[in-house]
Subunit: 356 residues, 2 copies
């Protein structure tokens, strides 16, 4: 008998505002006998190393009757998200002991028994991880879903000419800080907003963008008047609401907007959300506004993404940043902190050390 205690995060109640640890989600401990898992052909067992904490997870904590692009979490089930794990037992020739496994719907638990039927949801990324030679946790960050979102979102602007001005809201978040640096590499003038002075400093000094501001201290309107006197040509929006309204006012004719998120409203009811009053300017300025979902939009850009982003990270042109908390039991708090914008770069949970 090799008994381990496997902690997991169970979704308990639908939140109306900001979720609360111990109320809307709960840490549950389960005993697992690693010597008695009855693995059938195709099954394997993983130990979770890192979990990814993302804004879309809040949107899954909703009434299942509300339709959206993703499915709602089921009450009293273990939550899920992007993760990197390592195989510790296997009856599946594709996933050998010691291999690294990534997937977008890993359960938030320390040890996972993955049955053959679920195996196709996971990828064996061992060779690729060794070949690239960058830290493991980068695969949930700049080399993972949020990095891909940043890269593809940027490419969706289409024809980008150096010298144009881009504004990124939520610029110190997991997607924002990557797109801010990509835009800088591509020769744009880059303006970013965030909600905290330390992040302003990070954006200016580490990410090296042209102007960053704390929207809690200066309004988006004032900041764009000051930092973008010639107007905004591209807008990558993670925030929505008042930020979107202000940016429409500062948009140049034919400006292109990619809407990636609307985090300002994620914890609000429909009635509480900010109403954008100036949409008639979408007509008068002939704006082009697109909402996007990375999984749909990514395929044509995947190869370029791997080549360019790995190159920029290795050359040091793209600085990788993350906020890592330790211990799976801190995942709910990490999600709540991230929804309040406390993270700098990608929010991760380190669940365990990798096996040597």
């Amino acid at each position: 008998m090799t008994i381990v205690i496997s902690k997991s995060i169970v979704y308990r109640e639908i939140p109306t505002g900001l979720p609360i640890p111990d109320q809307h989600f709960q840490v549950v401990s389960t005993e697992l006998d690693l010597d008695d898992l009855a693995l059938e052909h195709g099954d394997f067992v993983t130990k979770t190393l890192y979990l990814s904490v993302d804004p879309y997870q809040r949107s899954k904590m909703r009434e299942p009757s509300i339709e959206s692009y993703n499915s709602a979490y089921e009450l009293n089930k273990i939550m899920s998200g992007g993760a990197i794990s390592q195989v510790i037992q296997s009856n599946n020739p594709t996933f050998r002991v010691g291999d690294y496994v990534t997937g977008g719907s890993a359960r938030w638990e320390e040890y996972s028994v993955i049955r053959r039927a679920q195996a196709s949801q996971f990828r064996n990324t061992t060779d690729r991880i060794h070949q690239v030679g960058l830290p493991l946790r980068h695969w949930l960050n700049v080399l993972g879903g949020t990095g891909l979102t940043a890269y593809v979102g940027f490419r969706l602007f289409g024809d980008i000419r150096p010298g144009k001005t881009i504004y990124i809201s939520g610029a110190a978040g997991a997607t924002g800080y990557v797109i801010a640096q990509i835009a800088k590499i591509k020769g744009l003038r880059v303006i970013g907003s965030t909600g905290d002075d330390a992040k302003v400093l990070f954006l200016m000094e580490t990410a090296g963008i042209d102007a960053a501001f704390n929207y809690k201290k200066i309004s988006v309107d004032e900041a764009l008047s000051e930092y973008a006197p010639d107007g905004i040509d591209f807008f990558f929006d993670n925030v929505g609401g008042e930020t979107l309204e202000a940016t429409i006012n500062h948009a140049n004719t034919h400006a292109r907007f990619i809407l990636c998120g609307a985090i300002s409203g994620y914890n609000q009811s429909d009635e509480e959300r900010y109403g954008v009053k100036n949409l008639f300017k979408v007509v008068s300025k002939r704006l082009d506004i697109k909402g996007f979902l990375v999984s749909e939009a990514a395929p044509p850009f995947i190869e370029d993404f791997h080549r360019e982003v790995v190159g920029w990270v290795k050359s040091g042109e793209l600085v990788v940043s993350d906020s890592v908390v330790e211990g799976i039991e801190n995942t709910p708090k990490a999600l709540v902190d991230m929804l309040q914008g406390k993270n700098l770069g990608k929010q991760l949970v380190k669940v365990a050390e990798e096996d040597p």
Copy 2:
């Protein structure tokens, strides 16, 4: 001496809400001696036959400091817009007596002396008018700017497959009633809204669309639930505000919106305008929203426009509708009525009979 009294419409005051005849614009009579116009080489004189009354003219009645895609009208100057005129004197070989002249910035006056420097703003459309053989006033309607706007706006949706559902707001207006019929010809299921029961009847019985409703009697939300149970794939919006918000709620994934106007807010201050609260659905539904200006977007479609639209009008597939008031002195009232949605189809002013 051949003295005529030429009435014109002079812009007197910037309105804050709906403009008021005699206050914001005024009818001015001027004596003109047609025998003593001192025409230099290149000059010519026209008699106005029809004036076009359009929503954008309200947007030109603004503080000149407010930038927009068009210039503001100048106070105490004669207003302008699309017109068809006939040449009555000429010292310009391109414009002979009896010829028809069209242009988008004709002065709202009965007789116009057009100097050589302005001549390039006008086109001699005599041959084309004779060749096509449709009534003169159609050239300010389905064959003119609003017809072109409808045609080009529809083409901007891109790949349109029959069987999809389109919703058109302001569907009985000058652009709306044309696009409603084009969409029907192209095999779409067409839903239109308007503000009056007679127009609902027109849309259903004359324009032959699938469903029309009076938004003053049934909310857009209720109407779309009833008439578009499978959701909206394309939205052509002339209205904005609450209508736009409701349509976002009923939009299918990847729905495409062309925003052509926002007449619901034209007479409102920035603060009074309706705030759209559900723009986060632009992200979750991956909507594609474009504002457009016909003059920019039209060039690739002009040839198709003339061929298709003339064909449809001649075959009777596209029914032409207009609201014509007589007398230039009624132009201010015609504009105000149109802004209140009293017109059916294109709002025109008949200024004079054509010469035989």
